[in-house]
């Protein structure tokens, strides 16, 4: 059977739900169910958050404190939702990959290695950009732009972090390939 080229929509769903293999009818219906449940939870929280903003803004609360509360509660909700999605995907084994024979298994391992390296690279770039922005904003040591970009300590730290992420992703996904 010819493998159809996946649309961006399908790729995005597979990325968000960590689905690695064919996105078939069963996976689609389960993903839709999980996504709908997560949506119901998120929209209720979103509505409550927006309503409380409007009320609290006109009260005598300190705005910086309010911003911190909002930031932490949003982060907590995102963590809860991501945990729910991960747990649901894990329970239904939607992230498993089927290898049909030895050759297919080795091919999938090869693709996984490439993907892990790519993920490490993306992780390194994103984290370096974020920490560069933070260092630039809080530049208490008055370092120049070049010094901030080529900082050995930051680069080595995040390089080690990126390699760890790559390894963890590789071994975790490898364990999900069913021979």
């Amino acid at each position: 059977m010819k493998k159809q080229k996946e649309s961006f929509y399908v790729k995005f769903i597979k990325y968000l739900y960590n689905i690695n293999d064919n996105f078939d009818e069963y996976k689609r219906s389960e993903v839709n169910r999980i996504g709908n449940n997560a949506f119901m939870f998120l929209i209720v929280y979103f509505w409550l958050e927006t309503m409380s903003f409007v009320v609290l803004v006109f009260s005598s609360f300190d705005l910086t404190d309010m911003l911190s509360i909002i930031f932490f509660s949003n982060a907590l909700i995102l963590f809860i939702i991501m945990s729910y999605i991960s747990f649901s995907i894990y329970k239904l084994k939607l992230d498993h990959i089927d290898a049909y024979d030895d050759m297919d298994y080795h091919l999938k391992l090869k693709k996984l290695k490439r993907k892990s390296i790519f993920m490490s690279l993306i992780f390194f770039i994103i984290e370096r950009l974020s920490t560069f922005y933070l260092d630039y904003s809080y530049n208490t040591d008055n370092l120049s732009l070049i010094q901030l970009i080529f900082s050995p300590r930051a680069n080595i730290n995040w390089f080690i972090g990126a390699v760890s992420v790559g390894f963890i992703y590789y071994f975790r996904t490898k364990s999900k390939i069913n021979k």
């Binding site: 993903v31 839709n32 705005l63 911003l67 995102l78």
Partner: protein, 178 residues
């Protein structure tokens, strides 16, 4: 066929999506698809908002960030609700089927009861909301009792609630298909 008692989960879904009548497998499938799409949009925007807020707070005033957050949250909320309404309406998931004249009149009766319930809801909830709002407002010098029985607030929200109840009835009636 015996109509099974609906679970709370299904009642919530029907309420959120404005679905009436049988919640069969087709409606369930479409609702799940619409909900998942809405989740993808909302989740992405939520992440962007979180990251943008945390980075912007280092350089911009808290007041400005809060104002932008409120406006963007309201906008996102209405965009999502609009998407849900359009998607449900396009697939006619909100239509109610009346099998004969008796069934039609029964469903009209249910629509009237829902409209009256909407009237009460649209009166009580905004009144409570603005009551809390007035209590927290530093410029408001009225007592709690004066805030509760304020004729202006009660009349304004009463008229609004009647309008909403009447509109709800007309919308529900238009969805009943003979």
């Amino acid at each position: 066929m015996n109509k099974q008692k609906e679970s709370l989960y299904i009642k919530i879904i029907k309420h959120v999506y404005g679905i009436q009548g049988y919640f069969d497998e087709y409606k369930k499938q479409e609702v799940n698809r619409i909900g998942n799409n809405a989740f993808l949009i909302l989740f992405s925007l939520f992440w962007i908002e979180l990251l943008a807020t945390s980075f912007a707070s280092l350089r911009v005033d808290s007041d400005l960030i809060l104002e932008i957050l409120i406006c963007s949250n309201l906008l996102i909320f209405f965009v999502i609700l609009w998407y849900l309404a359009i998607a449900v309406s396009r697939l006619n998931l909100d239509q109610v089927e009346a099998y004969d004249d008796n069934d039609f009149h029964l469903k009209l009766k249910i629509a009237k009861k829902k409209a009256i319930f909407t009237f009460f809801l649209d009166f009580i909830i905004p009144r409570i909301f603005f009551f809390i709002f007035d209590l927290l407002d530093k410029d408001n010098e009225l007592s709690i009792w004066q805030n509760i029985i304020s004729p202006k607030e009660n009349i304004v929200w009463g008229i609004g609630a009647i309008f909403m109840g009447f509109t709800t009835y007309l919308i529900l009636k238009s969805r009943i298909k003979k």
